[in-house]
């Protein structure tokens, strides 16, 4: 989902760059106070971790391609929203400067989508759910739902940026297709995030940001409102195509689909994207169904994994901790 240069128009580049710069500075400012504690060190190492974790490939079950974790929500859950965003920004900067993955001028837009929206926005969805549900199940459910939405919202932001660059008229359809494909991609992200957090919860639940100090205090209303906004946006995205019947014909659909599935060969797609390819030209019901199925699946999977991890945790003796020596080899915490 790294946007190259020369795809977005200059006003969009400038606007997203300004938002990104503001968001990034705000994030750094919030972290400056904590410069002396571990956070800066952890951010550097977490950035390296996210980079390395993106190298782990997950085979798609139907397609001969593979996807990988994006990690925005995972970083936010572990480090907090702003540190998570800065970590993602750091990763994006390195990917852009060293691998030409994502444009230099589009760095702002990429940071808005994959840093601010994924980490800060994702955290705003995660936190109320975690507090509302409580305990380990809350962490799992919140993180998985947030991971799903983060992918969805990031893709919608990309759609809006594209549309802002020249085709406002097509916005509803673009949104619809984006939502459809990324609902499936987001399932992959949610599954990986959930599976990773399940392992973390089983061994070092104390590492999760905010769980220790804040406990399960009731959510603040601002965050609830933000989460609500995110959900509403996503729902709107699913419903949008219904409002505008498709009239461009199959050629347009083919182009869009090619664009959407070809855009990121390295990302997770899923059975639903494949299904819709087989010839349901009418996008609206499919998108809505995908959204519905996606939401239900993520909630169900989150609930299931959350319950399962509670069981695991109670069975598992907490591993001896303390400053551990850096032994290598097969890791001790089997997942």
């Amino acid at each position: 989902m790294h946007i190259p240069d020369h795809v977005l128009s200059q006003p969009v580049l400038i606007a997203s760059g300004a938002i990104a710069l503001g968001g990034f500075s705000l994030g750094l400012k919030r972290l400056e106070r904590r410069l002396r504690d571990r956070t800066v060190v952890l951010m550097g190492i977490m950035a390296a971790f996210v980079f390395a974790a993106q190298m782990v490939n997950f085979p798609l079950l139907v397609l001969p391609a593979s996807g990988h974790l994006i990690g925005g929500v995972l970083a936010a859950v572990m480090l907090g929203p702003w540190a998570g965003a800065v970590v993602m920004g750091t990763v994006l900067l390195v990917q852009c400067l060293l691998f030409a993955d994502g444009g230099i001028l589009a760095l702002g837009a990429n940071f808005v989508n994959l840093g601010l929206i994924a980490s800060v926005g994702g955290y705003a969805i995660y936190d109320p759910i975690r507090r509302g549900v409580g305990g380990r199940a809350g962490v799992m459910l919140g993180a998985m739902v947030a991971a799903w939405f983060s992918v969805l919202l990031a893709s919608l932001a990309f759609a809006i940026e594209l549309a802002g660059s020249g085709w406002w008229e097509q916005l509803p359809e673009v949104l619809g297709w984006m939502a459809l494909v990324h609902a499936a991609i987001g399932l992959g992200e949610a599954m990986i995030t959930g599976l990773v957090l399940r392992s973390v919860l089983a061994v070092r639940p104390d590492l999760i940001f905010g769980v220790v100090e804040q406990g399960d205090a009731p959510p603040r209303w601002g965050r609830v409102a933000l989460a609500g906004l995110g959900v509403a946006l996503a729902v709107a995205a699913f419903l949008a195509p219904m409002a505008s019947p498709l009239d461009d014909g199959l050629e347009f659909v083919g182009g869009r689909l090619g664009f959407l599935s070809g855009e990121e060969p390295a990302m997770i797609s899923g059975p639903m994207a494949d299904y819709s390819l087989k010839g349901l030209p009418d996008i609206a019901p499919v998108t809505a169904a995908a959204g519905l199925i996606g939401t239900v699946t993520v909630f169900a999977a989150g609930w299931f994994l959350g319950r399962a991890s509670t069981g695991i945790a109670s069975r598992l003796e907490r591993s001896p901790e303390g400053p551990r020596s850096g032994g290598e080899g097969p890791e001790p915490h089997a997942a």
Partner: protein
Amino acid sequence: MTEPLPADHPPAAVLVRGLTYRYPDGREALRGVDLEIRPGETVALVGPNGAGKSTLLLHLNGLLPGRGASGSAPGIGHGHDLPGIGKGRKREAEPSVWIDGMPVDDRHGPEIRRRVGLLFQDPDDQMFSPTVIEDVAFGPLNLGRRKAEAKRIALECLERVDLADASDRPPHHLSFGERKRACLAGVLACEPTVLVLDEPTANLDPRSRRKFSALIRSLPATKLIATHDLEFVLEQCDRVALLDAGRVVADGDPETILGNEALMEAHGLELPLSMRLGRAIS
């Protein structure tokens, strides 16, 4: 413990009295450790895995309890706490570790860290800078040296560990043994009076081990060395403290302690090979 300073003069280089520490999960890591090291002495700390050796070493320069309180105070605000180092920070009412007669507490933190050089077991934990020279100069720069001076000190220390030609290389281009020596250079650059070494000879091939061992022997500082390498202990330590289950269970000269088969077996250790061979022959 009321009065830490014993009558002898000068004060002990390292004095530990009744040191206790709990991991964040409540497990006791150290339960009343007593240890005293005179200036210039080389003391080995032996014991099975999980005996609390590394935990004890981290206490010697205040990296465990009270560490965070000198600067930001994680726990307040949204600092997020990791166990192991940050947490379980129950402030002891009074200090239980003294370095050169100076209590290890928040007020003396910077001075303590200057005096106590800590060599970690995994060189990758300790070499975080992009080049070897930057890493060695990290300590001097933090101690307020000018850049030119810090660079000179760093080069000198690299010379001492025979790595002067590697100064501009990135750490991951060094072999394990070289990284280990570079870490030692970084520690020496802070000019510590007490050297605390965690498993200095672990994972080294025989030649690197010999080289590193000779290097350690050549250093004049007071040394406390946690190790499983019993031959190394016999070669160069004046004394051995045997730590198990968070307590010093034996303290004495290496031949006596390491030669006590019953004691060694009881604490998950064994006689050094040279001693076993010696006994088999005689």
